[in-house]
């Protein structure tokens, strides 16, 4: 019983640096034996790096990785009890299907008839019986993927690592393979660690989802937990579609947004606290205007999506995405209703930008690697030297022409908040700047950043306790 509870993979305080860049930042993760775990995140979030650290193709800069209780942080990949299914299959082009699958077994010096038996069993498992002597280059993408899976599972690893294995397949094939993978996981009973950027795939397949962003784990939980109770606006936006709005928690079980109070089920945020409100598009009820309506608005657009209609409804200046089986044409006045338990409240990670800086004189402060002019500071209260600088999200100006700004940055993450965009800008000083704006920008745009002197608030840096 004890061994059942013991995790098969333990990642403790693992960080990985590539030069100056931090790919993984203090990752802690424990995976139970037999689990189907998906590491989910946008490209560049560090999910593949984490998988490569477990496989042993890269070594962690800091921290410890254990597999089946044994420390393997520095162990070379060929001595680890894991096997990998690669994104582009990586089948050896000079070997046929049989020799590809038998590669690992032959290295273990297994007798020939055992190898033959095992290869046949593995091929049967992936539904590729009678393909033994085919040239791997003559196989279709889906078939190559099956051979790649067979090549990994034939070695009976404790853990199977899959690096976006279905990314190169077309939609129909992907759906079929998802079902087969899930079936295989059940039959084999081994641990699967699956990396993907496709949230739907993650929700379909996993027992546990690990959502990652910017080298950090954002949330770990079951698919339903992650979908219904996203921990922050990043997770809410990344998993499924959502309406994310700024709101204020008036008191326990009462939240104010869109110019009115709503009952909800969350508590413990304190009184009059700014929060993010998340409502899934399918949780908004839409109907012709009636007394039941909590919100009234006008339909802006209506698109048929196969199973449902997706409508954008403008109401009190906020745009809501609504999914319903009934269509309401653009221009129609509608009423909307949301049930208390469908309103998800998330604590705001921050309510303004806070930077560490240095006060140079009464009207100049240095932060983000630049010297900024600021409104005169009362030197009685704040002394020269290390200070904290606050700037509201809405008070940062982004400029098309990068040279016009005091410093430049790249737009990394865009969140639509119903009536404005909340942008994460990665400044050249390697610090995030958060910006609220009504302008439309694209991911990856290079922008100039400027801040007016009167919008820079300088305060005393608290001594660390």
């Amino acid at each position: 019983m004890q061994s059942e509870i013991k995790p098969i993979i333990e990642v403790k305080g693992v960080s990985k640096f590539f030069g100056e860049k931090t790919a993984l930042d203090n990752i802690n993760l424990s995976i139970k034996k037999g689990e189907f775990v998906t590491i989910l995140g946008p490209s560049g979030c560090g999910k593949t790096t984490l998988l490569r650290l477990i496989a042993g193709f890269q070594t962690a800069s800091e921290g410890v990785i254990r597999i089946a209780g044994e420390e393997i942080t520095q162990t070379p990949p060929h001595k680890r009890p894991v096997n990998t299914v690669f994104q582009k299959y990586a089948l050896f082009p000079h070997l046929n299907v049989y020799d590809n699958i038998a590669f690992g077994l032959k290295l273990k010096k297994m007798p020939k008839d055992t190898v033959l038996k095992k290869v046949k069993a593995a091929l049967k498992m992936v539904g590729m019986t009678d393909y033994e002597y085919r040239d791997v280059n003559s196989l279709s993408g889906g078939q190559q993927q099956r051979v790649a899976i067979a090549r990994a599972i034939v070695n009976e690893p404790e853990v199977l690592l899959l690096d976006e294995p279905l990314a190169a397949l077309d939609l129909k094939m992907r759906k079929d393979m998802q079902m087969e993978l899930k079936e295989m996981h059940k039959t084999l009973g081994i641990t699967f660690v699956y990396v993907t950027h496709d949230q739907e795939e993650a929700l379909t397949l996993s027992d546990t989802i690990v959502v990652m962003s910017e080298g950090r784990i954002q949330q770990i939980g079951t698919p339903t937990d992650i979908y219904n109770e996203p921990i922050n606006s990043f997770v809410a936006d990344f998993i499924g579609e959502s309406n994310i709005l700024n709101g204020v928690m008036v008191k326990d079980k009462l939240v104010h947004f869109c110019d009115r109070d709503f009952e909800c089920v969350d508590e413990g945020f304190g009184e009059n606290t700014p929060v993010d409100v998340v409502i899934r598009p399918e949780d908004l009820y839409i109907f012709p205007v009636s007394d039941m309506a909590q919100l009234r608005g006008t339909v802006q657009s209506c698109i048929f999506k196969g199973v449902h209609y997706e409508m954008v409804v403008l109401c009190h200046g906020y745009e809501f995405v609504v999914q319903d089986y009934h269509a309401f044409e653009a221009g129609t006045e509608v009423g909307m209703l949301v049930k208390p338990f469908d309103i998800h409240i998330m604590k705001k990670e921050r309510i303004c930008n806070t930077f560490e800086g240095k006060l140079i004189d009464e009207t100049h402060v240095e932060f983000l690697g630049c010297e900024f002019e600021c409104a005169p500071v009362d030197l009685q209260k704040v002394s020269l030297g290390d200070v904290l600088v606050d700037v509201d999200f809405g008070k940062i100006n982004l400029l098309d022409n990068a040279e016009d700004g005091m410093l430049t940055g790249e737009i990394k993450f865009i969140l639509y908040k119903g009536n404005h965009y909340h942008l994460t800008v990665w400044s050249d000083w390697d610090e995030n700047v958060f910006v609220d704006t009504n302008d439309v920008w694209d991911d990856g745009d290079r922008v100039g950043i400027s801040i007016a002197p009167e919008d820079i608030r300088v305060r005393v840096k608290q001594e660390e306790r």
Binding site: V82, A90, F92, F103, N155
Partner: protein, 265 residues
């Protein structure tokens, strides 16, 4: 008028200058070699030239000896060149560029100057000229042609093959012999073509590095043609061409079932 414009604009017409050039300097001479090889001084059709070659043990011996030297040179180039290509493909980019330049740099120096310098070097070290010097000189001259195609294949090789092999339990030695080496075969074959074929026909290196003591097949051809034995010389050239064609046929066969490789041609 319109027709003329169309003619100049069509892409095919731009290949015309080269086509004319190659007809004059490649195709016609090749045909001449064939014609000369099968005729005698008076221009009559004959197989006498080939009979003479087979009847002359000296010529046949030179021929076999040349092939032997070419094979030794090629093997030497693979043994020395493969590790060099491997190191080049593994080193980080800024460093490897300098290294590649160092390997390629000697190719910019004229082959005769390089060989004369080798002779001077052997004199300076008071090493005897002869067979050893010949093979050294050949390897020295031809090794860049071996390194480059191998380096090309190794560099283009998807690193995930190596990772897949490691993942399946192969140590570094097994990764090399079971995956990297077989996958780099197209580069090796291409290197062999670039080294083996020219070494059969060289004569300058042999003359200079053996003080004219060792004769290679190239030297025999050159001597015959210099002595106005055009027909016999042409027949010997044709035999050599046939051999070269045979090697390239063999290697193109090899190529067809190997995957993408870094051939130079």
């Amino acid at each position: 008028m319109n027709k003329l414009r169309l003619f100049f604009l069509s892409r095919r017409s731009w290949t015309l200058p080269y086509l004319i050039f190659s007809i004059i300097f490649v195709i016609v001479p090749l045909l001449l070699i064939v014609v000369y090889a099968f005729t005698d001084d008076a221009g009559r059709m004959t197989l006498e030239n080939f009979r003479k070659f087979l009847a002359h043990p000296e010529a046949v011996n030179t021929f076999i000896y040349s092939i032997g030297i070419a094979i030794l040179t090629t093997i030497g180039c693979i043994v020395l060149g493969y590790p060099a290509a491997w190191i080049l493909s593994r080193s980080n980019s800024s460093y490897s560029r300098t290294l590649i330049l160092l390997f390629i740099l000697p190719m910019w120096v004229n082959i005769l100057i390089r060989t004369l310098a080798t002779v001077a070097l052997f004199d300076f070290a008071s090493l005897p000229l002869g067979e050893g010097a010949l093979i050294f000189g050949m390897i020295y001259n031809f090794i860049p042609f071996m390194i480059y195609p191998i380096y090309n294949t190794l560099q283009k090789m998807d690193p995930s093959y190596v990772e897949a092999a490691q993942d399946l339990g192969a140590n570094s030695f097994q990764v090399f012999w079971k995956v990297v080496f077989p996958l780099s075969m197209p580069g090796v074959v291409s290197g062999i073509m670039m080294v083996f074929m020219p070494t059969i026909s060289t004569f300058a290196i042999a003359e200079l590095l053996t003080m004219n003591n060792i004769k290679l097949f190239g030297t025999t051809i050159q001597e015959n043609i210099n002595n106005s034995m055009w027909n016999y010389g042409a027949a010997l050239s044709l035999i050599m061409l046939f051999l070269i064609a045979a090697t390239s046929l063999f290697s193109s066969d090899e190529k067809s079932d190997s995957e993408k490789g870094g051939q130079v041609w």
